[in-house]
């Protein structure tokens, strides 16, 4: 997924998404042992090696941390930091 054209001109949305992405990166590096500065488009599981146990923990951490219900179907599609941030952003609107 790339930054879509429709986001342009909406500075707030970009800023919120950027902030969310930073927060999520922080969670992934501190609690899930991912290397700092990992590629936001890399697959968290196939490329960066997160396990299914960690996937479950991440899902629960997101639901608790942001007080939203994360549908499993969406979560399993959100396999990169970039996608994860977009999904969370969509759920919190």
């Amino acid at each position: 997924m790339t930054t879509s054209a429709s986001d342009q001109g909406d500075g707030n949305l970009d800023a919120n998404l950027g902030k969310l992405k930073n927060e999520l990166r922080q969670v992934l590096t501190s609690s899930f042992s991912l290397a700092e500065g990992f590629d936001e488009r890399a697959d968290l599981y196939r490329d960066l090696g997160m396990s299914s146990m960690q996937a479950m923990e991440l899902l629960m951490a997101l639901e608790e941390g942001y007080a939203v219900k994360v549908p499993d179907e969406q979560f399993v599609e959100a396999t990169s930091l970039e996608r994860l941030a977009r999904m969370m952003h969509g759920l919190m609107i």
Binding site: S51, S52, M53, M56, E73
Partner: protein
């Protein structure tokens, strides 16, 4: 291929000849045909043979559910070698110990594993030849494929070597021969009658022997295997329905988790014809919910340690009969009857068969029994034993360490472990291995690891109690992190001034368990310095 090949690769090679264009494998929507997999495997096998000045004995497959790791498994077999699965999600130190023990000739590494490679090989005095198919155009791509007849694989040759948690602090190797795994595959083909239209899940890590069922039983039948990403296990229905899978195989933790998250509704898995569970106790509730979700499917509970090659007993769920049988054993599904070619007996501590219906340790012999642990005759002598009272005094039985009871209908139910092995999400964990790691940390006098909480017969996490002087919890965590797999990591460390002792002066684990039961806030743990870490390490 001559029909004399009865090795693990034989079924695959037969399908290559019969249906080269049929799909054999799907990874991330990329389809590989039998012909293409065969071509890759023979080319890589050619590279292995070219680079070695001796026949290849053992080839490491360092990867996780990738095209590379599957092709490498076949390449090892085509080269005449055994494959040794290694997991990029394990700490490098642990994998290095396995490479050292296995004395690998070659190592094939996928993309994920390549990020671990340098750390893993560090300090190895006898490093294997390394192949990196992902970013290498030299050796592998230019190698001459092994055409025609391949180096022979007689039945008594090693097919694969797997490492499981060892109670004394290091992983132990379980060698499985071609005759062992061939016996299992023959059983599976006769029992399930799979065909080329079947579509198999591949949910297990390749370091878990149940993955060998997914791959080699599917390929024996000419069917297609669908590799799952770890995250797909969170929403299996989506994966099953998208790919119209007909065969599902996972640990029972998967349906348990789905029930918890309300994802296992009636008729939600209509494509499944076979639903198989193995690796830990299957609860009645999970079996019932899965059967309702997959009404067109047979549901079976399999049981078997790695030493007995994938599985050795089976219970077929029958909604009319099975619930009453579950009532005999803590509401878990019976493990069922031993496969026809195998012999099972329940024995007491002196290896005497117990009276019918009494609890005893399950021991199994037959063509699926491993010849014994890798380079460890002492441990082999303890676990692979002759049982004079069994009626087969010359046969070597594997002592499973599982306490079972035989029901009147001949099926077995699982009761408990006789030792300190637990299952965490279906993975075998020796608590002694964790304690061994903790005891090496400065200041630690005693360490006790316990599975906690236990739910439906499987541990959800591990708690470690340690006592000693000036214990640094950070150091405990670091020590665990560098040698233990994620699912073996204690998610809680509790530092005690003194360990509670029983009247024999031994550490009283029951008191520790009772303290966990009672909740730590209100208990009598003296000066607990508890450090609550998230399980995500």
């Amino acid at each position: 291929m001559p029909s004399t090949d009865h090795s693990l690769r034989a079924g695959f090679l037969r399908q290559v000849a019969l249906r080269p264009d049929a799909p054999a494998l799907v990874v991330e929507n990329r389809v590989s045909s039998y012909g293409r997999l065969d071509e890759t495997a023979r080319r890589w096998a050619g590279a292995i043979v070219e680079r070695l000045d001796r026949p290849a004995e053992r080839v490491g497959v360092f990867g996780s559910r990738s095209e590379i790791s599957y092709s490498a498994t076949l390449a090892a077999l085509c080269s005449g070698a055994a494959f040794v699965p290694l997991n990029p999600r394990f700490p490098p130190e642990r994998t290095r110990a396995m490479i050292r023990q296995a004395e690998l000739d070659a190592l094939i590494v996928d993309g994920l594993a390549s990020t671990q490679l340098a750390a893993t090989l560090q300090g190895l005095d006898r490093a294997p030849i390394v192949f990196l198919p992902g970013n290498e155009t030299g050796d592998l791509e230019c190698a001459r494929p092994l055409h025609g007849e391949l180096p022979p694989l007689p039945p008594d040759r090693l097919a694969y070597l797997l490492f499981t948690s060892g109670s004394t602090g290091t992983p132990k190797g379980v060698p499985i021969l071609h005759s062992n795994v061939r016996a299992f595959i023959n059983w599976a083909m006769e029992h399930y009658q799979f065909g080329p239209d079947d579509r198999f899940s591949q949910a297990f890590d390749q370091t878990f022997d149940l993955s060998i069922f997914d791959l080699f039983v599917a390929w024996q039948a000419g069917a297609c295997v669908y590799a799952m990403s770890p995250v797909d296990l969170l929403a299996p229905s989506r994966f099953i329905n998208k790919n119209e899978l007909t065969v599902w195989f996972s640990v029972p933790s998967v349906p348990a988790q789905m029930r918890k998250r309300d994802l296992l509704g009636p008729h939600t898995l209509p494509t499944l014809q076979w639903s198989l569970f193995c690796g830990e106790p299957l609860s009645r509730a999970s079996a019932e919910a899965w059967q309702a979700a997959a009404p067109n499917s047979v549901v079976e509970n399999l049981y078997g340690p790695t030493e007995l090659t994938i599985a050795c007993t089976v219970h077929r769920w029958d909604p009319r009969v099975s619930p009453a049988l579950c009532a005999c054993a803590n509401d878990v599904v019976p493990i069922g009857r031993p496969f026809r070619a195998l012999t099972a007996v329940a024995v007491d501590e002196d290896l005497e068969p117990v009276a019918d219906g009494d609890p005893g340790e399950l021991c199994v012999c037959g063509p699926q029994t491993s010849p014994g642990y890798w380079n460890d005759s002492a441990r082999s002598a303890e676990r692979f034993v002759q049982i004079p009272g069994s009626g087969m005094p010359d046969a070597f039985f594997y002592r499973t360490g599982d306490q079972v009871r035989q029901l009147q209908n001949g099926e077995y139910v699982w009761l408990a472990r006789t030792d300190r092995q637990i299952k965490v999400l279906g993975f075998r964990v020796e608590l002694g291995e964790i304690e061994g790691v903790l005891q090496n940390v400065t200041g630690v006098v005693h360490a006790v690891a316990l599975g906690w909480p236990i739910n439906e017969g499987t541990a959800k996490g591990i708690v470690a109690f340690v006592s000693g002087t000036r214990i640094d919890v950070g150091k405990l965590q670091d020590a665990c992190k560098s040698t233990l797999v994620t699912y073996m990591m204690p998610n809680r460390f509790i530092v005690l001034e003194e360990m509670p002792l029983n009247s024999n002066g031994k550490i009283d684990r029951l008191i520790l368990e009772a303290q966990l039961e009672g909740g730590l806030e209100s208990d009598s743990v003296s000066n607990p310095v508890s450090n609550e870490e998230s399980a995500a390490l």
